[in-house]
Structures are given as C-alpha cells and as structure tokens.
Symmetry: C2
Subunit: 378 residues, 2 copies
C-alpha cells in the first residue's frame, strides 16, 4: 500500500513537473500566479442540490488543499442555511444574476459547476471568463460541441479545467489501472461493466427532462460504465454498437431508460456495458488470459469492494472520493501534479456517448471511434 502510494505519487509528480515546464513563461495566467501564492484554494459551488449538499460540501470539510469559499444559488433559504452552517462571508454568496461578479472575489479560486447538465457549458464558460479554474460535474455537457466550447474557454482564459470524475481519484481505480498496466491477470480479453439504478422519484426531476439532462441513464450512469470499460482495458475503444430498451415510457417519457453497448478495443479485447434508470448494476469485471478481478460495487460513493481470481480482496481505507478529487485538482493547480480528469477526458466520453446514441438511431450499427489522438487513455 505505502509502496504503491509512493510510486504513484512519484509518477504523478514527474508528469506534473513536465507539464509545469511546458507551461512556464508567458503561458502562466494571472489566476495561476495568484493561486500559487496560496496553500489552500477556495472553491465556490454553483448549484446547491443534493450532490453539493450531501457530498461536496461535507467533503470540503476534510480536504487538505482546498476549502468551501463560496456558494451560488437561486434559493434565498439556502443562502441563510449554508452561510450559517459553513460560516461563509456574505460577500462570497452569489445568485445566478450576479454570478459573473465572482470575478472580483479573490477568495474564490475554483468554481465547481454542479447544475443540470445542459447548464454546464454556460456556467463553466462564464467561470473561465471570470478568471476562475473550473470543475465541471459529469457528464461534462450535453454535446461534444459544448465540451469543445468549455475546453476552449478555459484555454483562452488560461485557467485549469477538470471534470467531476470522482472515481479517477479513488485508490481502487489506480489499482485497476496498475493491474492492467502490469498485466497482473494477463492480457485483458473481456471487460463487463454495469452502472445502473432504479429511478422511482419525482417524474418531474431534471434528470428525466431531456432539455435539462441531455439524456437519460447513459449520460448519468453510463459514463461510469464507459470509464470503467476504458480503465479496465487501459485503452480507448475503437468501435461501439448499442441498443436501447424502453419498458416504462410513461415514466421515462423524455430520456433513455436502459442502454447496452459493446466496445471493441485495438488489442482485441471486447467490452459490454449496461446502464439503466430502471435496473440495478454497479460492477466492473475484467477478464484477463491469466485470471480476473471484479469491483462490486464499482462506482458508488464507497467503500468500493473488490476481489480477484488470486483469492484476495482489493481493499483500501475508505476516504471521501470527492475530497480526494477536489484535492487532486487543487494540487494540480498549486503544485503542477497531473490533472487526473481533464476536459479532454470529458469530451472523449461525450464522443462515445454520441456514438452510442447514433448506433441506437441506426438500429445497432457499429460506429467507428477515432480517439487515439486525444492523449487520454484512462
């Protein structure tokens, strides 16, 4: 465990220094220069729904390199509750009308956009224009075009961008990547991934409203299965085919209910995934030619649980994934460590999402993917 942590840290640090070297000189933005004087970065949460309330804000109480510095909400009551609970300055509380004035607040280094998916692009771009680093909750946006717009806005503003892929900071994910890289179970031949839950809540929730969500199970849970398929093989897929199943059209009247998809990888490995808002599934199983390993659950808030064909459990001390994630991003800004979930990763996954929807529209026809030049393979 310690050995792994040290090695991973060295690799990370090595890559980070290389990036820092590349970025030195004129490309360092004001935001970066400012941030580098601080030991901890202030994060403002945009959108105080369940995820901010129950995951992000509590996580920000246990982070080492960042802290809750502000909120953006359209609900007056929440302003009062959050101000009191988290001892926030009056000047660090924003609403959707005065959001852009966040540019003038030096206490806020990072804006974390936790709004419905269709609002990600608008607020991420405005945050970048305000000179703030950006965390965009997953799925990154509702189209590849929007992902590009966010990436470009952050490049132009010379601010850092990451996607809210908490699993990329989880030690279980690094262990999976290590197994695959070191061929602990041989060459990966088949990967199976399920990411699904049964939605029974308010049918008017934004996740079931296409205008707000941009899609159903696929964009919500499916991106986990896409990600596990990729880090379960250590490769981006070269092709995908997909199918959609609908059995509760009254409830899922606007968004996809269940989708299965099959991936081809250049090594010859095959993947299949299932995502649903009307079935359960939370699992990654990777078969190599010398054995297998399985995470089940594979992408809940934790603790994750794993077993291998060698008979051992995969086990790490449980830490809040969101705390690890936000600390990883803060360290990336403060110390130049690697960005474990850059915007290009969110864009890649959206390319796959769009290919899956296209395959479904074309009756399951295989869609070729050209992701090799994206530089993102985990």
């Amino acid at each position: 465990m310690n050995k792994l942590t040290r090695r991973d840290f060295s690799i990370t640090l090595g890559k980070g220094l290389a990036s820092a070297t590349l970025l030195s000189g004129t490309s360092l933005a004001c935001a970066n220069t400012l941030a580098q004087k601080k030991s901890k970065l202030g994060i403002a949460l945009v959108g105080l729904g369940s995820y901010s309330t129950h995951q992000l804000a509590p996580s920000l109480q246990v982070t080492d390199h960042c802290y809750l510095a502000g909120i953006v909400t359209g609900t007056k009551d929440k302003e009062t509750i959050w101000k009191q609970k988290y001892n926030l300055n009056e000047t660090s509380i924003y609403n959707y009308e005065n959001f852009d004035s966040i540019a003038d607040n030096p206490d806020i280094d990072i804006v974390y956009v936790v709004l419905p998916n269709s609002m990600h692009a608008d607020f991420c771009i405005r945050a970048a224009k305000a000179g703030k680093h950006v965390i965009c909750e997953k799925p990154m946006a509702v189209s590849v075009e929007e992902c590009d717009a966010i990436i470009n806005a952050c490049k132009n503003a010379k601010v850092k961008l990451s996607v809210g892929y908490r699993m990329q900071s989880d030690p279980y994910t690094n262990e999976v990547k290590k197994y695959v890289k070191e061929k602990t179970f041989g060459e990966v031949t088949f990967v199976s991934s399920d990411a699904a839950y049964i939605s029974r809540g308010n049918p008017e929730q934004w996740r079931l409203n296409h205008a707000l969500s941009g899609g159903g199970a696929l964009v919500n849970m499916g991106v986990y299965a896409i990600q596990t398929s990729i880090y379960g093989t250590g490769q981006n897929p070269i092709a995908v085919s997909a199918q959609e199943f609908s059995t509760r059209p009254d409830y899922f009247k606007d968004t996809d209910e269940t989708i299965t998809a099959q991936f081809e990888f250049s090594s010859g490995a095959v993947g299949h995934m299932m995502t649903s808002h009307n079935a359960n599934g939370n699992r990654l199983k990777v078969h190599g030619d010398k054995g297998w390993f399985e995470l089940n659950p594979a992408h809940s808030y934790g603790p994750i649980s794993g077993i291998t064909s060698k008979g051992n459990d995969i086990k790490f001390p449980h830490k809040r994934q969101q705390a690890l994630q936000m600390d990883d991003f803060a360290k990336h800004i403060l110390k130049g460590t690697v960005n474990v979930a850059p915007g290009e990763m969110g864009k890649r996954d959206m390319i796959i999402v769009e290919a899956i929807y296209k395959s479904i529209a074309e009756g399951g026809k295989k869609q070729l993917l050209n992701l090799g030049n994206m530089g993102i393979v985990s």
Copy 2:
C-alpha cells in the same frame, strides 16, 4: 432444502401424472411399454470423446434409474478399454457401420448421442428409428430444420427425446426458477450472463471446424447463456440483437470467437450475454427491483456457487449434474415425470442461435422472436 425438494417433487409428479394421463391408451409406444417393465434403463453412449469418458460414463456409475448398457465407437482400442473398465457385454458394443442393429438389443433403452454437432441429427433420427429413446447432446443440432427433423423422428417412432442440458437437472437451476417465480427479489429487470472460456487447444479440434460444429462459441457455450437468460427471467425473449468480435482469425478461422447479444423480454426485463472461445466467463446475475442474486460459476460441472443481496449463499450438496440429468430422463420414461429438457427446448434455443447469427449478419439489427407458442419457458 428438504421442504423444497419435496415441493419440487410434488410439482414434477403432478405434471408427470397429467402427461401420463394424456398419453394413456393407444399413444403409448412399444418402447415405453417395454421400458416400464424395467426398474433401470440401459443407456448406450454414441461417441466416446472426452465428455463421454470423463463425465457421462462416470456419472452412469452413480445413477439410480439408468446404467451404462452399451457403447458406439469408431475406435477399436476404445472398445477394449471400455469393455474391460465397465464390464460391458460384447453384444452391446457397436461401431458406426453396425449402429442401426442396436434396434435388436433389448438391453439398450436410451441412445445418448455425444458426437460432433453436425452428426446429432443423423444419429438421433437413426436411434429413434431403432425404437430407442434419445438424448441429444447440446447444442441440439446445427439448424432449426435439423431440430424439427429430430423431433418429428422421435414423435413418429413414439420414443422420448431430451437434450443434454445438464443444468436443467441441477438444484441451483431450480432455485433460480423458484426465485423468479416467487419474486423473491422482486420483478426481474435485468439479467446478465457470461458463458465463455479461452480455447488454446489443437486448432484442428472439431469445435473449431464449422462443418462439424455448425458454429463456434455461440453454439458451444452460448446456449448456456441463452438458457440462463431465460430461466433468470422466467420468460422467452421477444427480440434479440447481437455483435461478433474477431481478434484471432488465424486460430478461429472457421468459427465465431466472441459474441455479445441483448435480449428483450415481454415483461420489460432486459438481458445481455457474452460468449467466447477467447475470454473467460461463467456467471449469471439477475437483478430484480427488490434485490439480486448471482451464480458464479453458473454452469460449470459444479459445484455451482451463488450469493444473494440478502447476504446468504445459495448452496446445495454437489451431485454429478449428468447423473441427475440422465436419471431425470429415465424417470420421465419410467414414471411419467416431466421431461425437463425436451426437444422443443433445444429447438427454441436453436431459433435464438439462428436469430443471433442473423442479427450479426445484418449489422446488429434487432430480430423479433416468436417463441410464445412453443410452450417452453424455462
């Protein structure tokens, strides 16, 4: 356990008596009349390959209602070895030239055809014409047309027919059927089934020769995944789509290597399956709206192993599946109990196999299935 066994037996007996009533009178064939005078039925194995040698013959040493009464082989050496090992009569040893004279051997009640798939139809039909009950190893044949020919031959000869689906006699399978029927984990929403192994043997083996096998992973292992998908939901699928993946065309030059398929069921449940000769997989996971259960391994020779979302193991004493299977068929003949793996089940699965190949040929296009009128739903 005892309670379950008793109940299952009552159900079985009840159905059996109903069948016996229907069949009473003129429809009882000579073979049946003869068999009913015996307490144990004689089985002849046709084809003494690995499965007969290591599974069926040893199983026939522990069966209660049948015994090894004869062999059919093209290899002189095997005649000698088997005769000695199993104390067989010289008159109960046949080769492929004199096979049809088995009709004159009253010691042989059942002919079990364990030849390469493309030879099933020929030998099953000849066995029926010889007045013998027939067990046809899975997959039943290499086409639906051949399945029909076998079924009709047995009907015309008034002999019983079953397919070598050993899992249909395994207590784990009955437990799965019970969970589904009693909704122990709620309504089934999703079923996932893998049936695969990595083939590394002689590339000239008959399983990799399409003329002998009629197909690759799908007809060999895929039928297990088809069966588990069906008894995991308690329904026949109403549609299927499928994809084929090929990465070792040098080795799998003649037969399919890896296939994934997706099932739609009328209840709204969704299934996906994977079968391969170049990856591992041996699992059934059934998700209901109130929980889940999993068999892993799901269809090896045993012991099968299972867990449920209630935290308990699924556990039964291990018995040779092939012994249970052959005893089930013998009891069906002797006592009129239900035929747990009739020819129509093998035909149904071949209809699904053909639809899967058709979907692949049509680029993954969904194929509608009309299996509702077959009377086989397990």
